[in-house]
């Protein structure tokens, strides 16, 4: 492979993957947060129904 501008080509590919990887990590973190919020709410609603 031609080595001219190889460093910037590497930066380009690295940035592309970093953006996508960053998005996937954010997606996974958000999913965990939503799941725990959903579980908490389910417990609260079930608790209130038991009290009735």
């Amino acid at each position: 492979m031609d080595e001219r501008n190889f460093t910037f080509m590497f930066y380009g590919f690295a940035m592309a993957w970093l953006i996508l990887l960053g998005y996937v990590v954010a997606l996974v973190a958000r999913e965990r947060k939503i799941k725990s919020e959903l579980d908490n709410l389910k417990r609260i609603v079930e608790g209130k129904e038991h009290l009735k």
Partner: protein
């Protein structure tokens, strides 16, 4: 079942990416004047196509929401917009890195670059707008109208290099420039795994929206009880 399909699709995307990278880095010839940097094109161009495909799906889903009032269309619109925005960011950043070497500058206020940045900002605004409205149906309605309005910029980005004199290279796929057939097929081949990856991410994001709507329903139940 849904989880298995998503894992399968992600595996297919990974295999296709590996095969394409082998082709791009080891089998394709170098470009005479640009050196290695031209290979950014294999990520830069498909990322833009995938982003535009996502924004188009968001447009269709938004219109369907306004016509049929189903919240699942809203879920699809927001999910595909967010994923499209990530791919649009890949397109903008890789383009800037390429421009730094070929043009000697990171950025220029050229028609193509500016309209793409405006496109990115419009869809980022769409996501911010959603946070500002609490009531789900109202939020879906406002977002759908905004999404339809935002899509008006996509054809401008696409045709800007035809309509105006720009610094951006002329298209090699539909008139203007030309490309070696092997390079062209590698470019198209890299669209497939990116599209598959976008589908997987959209499906994951949609699942989150479903859970969010469940949370909103439970909150109302919890306040009512």
């Amino acid at each position: 079942m849904r989880q298995r399909v998503l894992i399968g699709l992600a595996a297919i995307a990974a295999v296709l990416f590996a095969y394409n990278f082998h082709t791009i880095f080891l089998r394709l010839p170098d470009e005479a004047s640009q050196g290695a940097i031209y290979r950014i094109m294999y990520f830069h161009v498909p990322a833009a196509w995938v982003a535009f495909a996502g924004f188009f799906v968001a447009l269709v889903a938004s219109v369907l929401f306004l016509v049929r009032k189903g919240l699942r269309y809203d879920r699809l619109a927001v999910s595909v917009t967010e994923v499209g925005l990530a791919f649009a960011a890949v397109n903008l950043i890789t383009g800037m890195i390429w421009g730094r070497i070929i043009w000697g500058i990171w950025w220029t206020w050229d028609w193509r670059l500016t309209s793409m940045l405006v496109c990115w900002l419009l869809y980022a605004g769409y996501l911010m707008l959603r946070r500002a409205v609490d009531e789900p149906t109202q939020r879906a309605k406002v977002s759908a109208v905004f999404s339809i309005f935002a899509f008006a910029d996509v054809p401008i980005v696409f045709f800007s290099i035809k309509w105006w004199r720009t610094q951006h290279p002329q298209p090699v796929v539909w008139g203007g420039g030309s490309m070696d057939p092997a390079m062209m097929s590698a470019l198209f081949a890299n669209v497939i795994p990116m599209l598959v990856l976008a589908i997987v991410l959209t499906a994951l994001r949609m699942r989150q929206e479903e859970m969010r709507q469940e949370i909103e329903t439970l909150r109302r139940l919890s306040y009512a009880a």
